[in-house]
Amino acid sequence: MIYAYALAGVILAPFAGVFIAGLDRILTARFQARTGPPILQPLYDIAKLWAKEPMIAHRFQPLCVYVYLAAAMVSVGLFFAQSDLLLIFFVQAVGAVFLVMGAFLVPSPFSQAGANRELIQILTYEPLIIIVLAGIYLSTGSFEISAVYAMDKPLLMNLPLLFIVFGYALTIKLRKSPFDISASHHAHQELVRGVLTEYSGRQLALIEIAHLYETVLILGLCSLFWTTGVLGTVVLLAATYLAEIVVDNICARMSFKWMLKSVWTTGLALSAVNFAWLYARGKF
């Protein structure tokens, strides 16, 4: 049964991702008083990139892309199989690192700059996600996702501040402003194309698909904060993603120093307060 869930998740996740990404682009356009593309635009983009002439900048780059995609797919599969949160986290971290390695392989300065920035982004959000997972462990007594679903009260009641911390990591992972310093969601405000500069054609299509998987995974992790009712989960996800789009539209891109300073200080402070509260309620 678990395998069936995992398989269904891996097959259905990219389609869900296309709709989320399409909705994202339409809403972003509406916020800017534009009409925006059709909702299936991400699908058109991927299909077009797939059929482009292959142009490979380094012979190991395709391997990096395949590992990135495989890691994203496996982590989504593990999530739907209600597996271990730490395992899911480390699998997606391996994928993220391979994307950076692929960009580092090519001596183009734009690719190198993008890869360096992506590394700093990974350095910024990974500790925060670990802290959030630790908070989930303290509330449920286990790193298993099934333990979260066994709770009779939503996690958000125990971890309200850690949810905000998770929001920071979400913004970085979704490549939204002000933290889109390695490769912006919006192509026109980019230093060539950041970490994606040297990936083209089918490689880029695979990266886009992997990004759809990552979006689904990160929204899935977000849904763990409200597991007691479907309506609550949907409302929480919609509100979170809408907040991401609003923040993306009202913020300018910031420097990596600002990102490190603001995300780590606010993130760690909020986590400390939340942990102190858990301690006071005897959760340790």
Binding site: P37, Y44, K48, H188, Y199
Partner: protein
């Protein structure tokens, strides 16, 4: 079926890269005006991508001179096929008012093959959008006949270096 989806996707998602060969910036401002809420070319999936390796459409403004012709050739070479080139403005078409200058090569088509010509000084945003839409039919045609996409054109490559060969 997949082939059909890809053919449809090709014309529904043209990503463009814009290169200024030394124009007065009039045409560049009009090109960027197409992205504003008034015209909003993202309705048709058009994105200004800024990276030739991801682009399908190359929009060139300004008259080509002996210095930047190599840059133009290199950008064109870095774009994976199928691709189209759109020359925008009087200078891009023929060299315009700078045609007689000692360092000016002439229009864009003296250096790389041009598929669509958009006249005007500067070209109006409506005309540029028209040019891109016109170019999409050329793009669809190139997809159906792949040989045409790599068709040889009279281009002088003797002085240009290949800086980006695969390593």
């Amino acid at each position: 079926m997949f082939k059909k989806i890809m053919e449809r996707s090709r014309i529904k998602s043209p990503w463009l890269v814009h290169y200024d060969c030394g124009s007065c910036n009039g045409c560049d401002i009009e090109t960027l005006a197409c992205l504003t809420p008034l015209y909003d070319v993202e309705r048709f999936g058009v994105l200004n991508i800024g990276n030739p390796k991801h682009a399908d459409v190359l929009i060139v403004t300004g008259s080509v001179n002996t210095r930047n012709r190599h840059v133009l050739e290199q950008i064109h070479r870095q774009m994976p096929s199928p691709k189209i080139v759109i020359a925008v403005g009087s200078c891009g078409l023929s060299g315009g008012i700078f045609k007689e200058a000692y360092n000016v090569v002439g229009g864009v088509d003296r250096v790389i093959p041009v598929d669509v010509y958009v006249p005007g000084c500067p070209a109006r945003p409506e005309a540029i959008i028209d040019g891109v839409v016109e170019g999409l039919s050329v793009l669809a045609d190139k997809q159906r006949r792949p040989d045409a996409a790599n068709g040889a054109v009279a281009v002088d490559h003797t002085n240009s270096e290949i800086l980006y060969e695969s390593r």
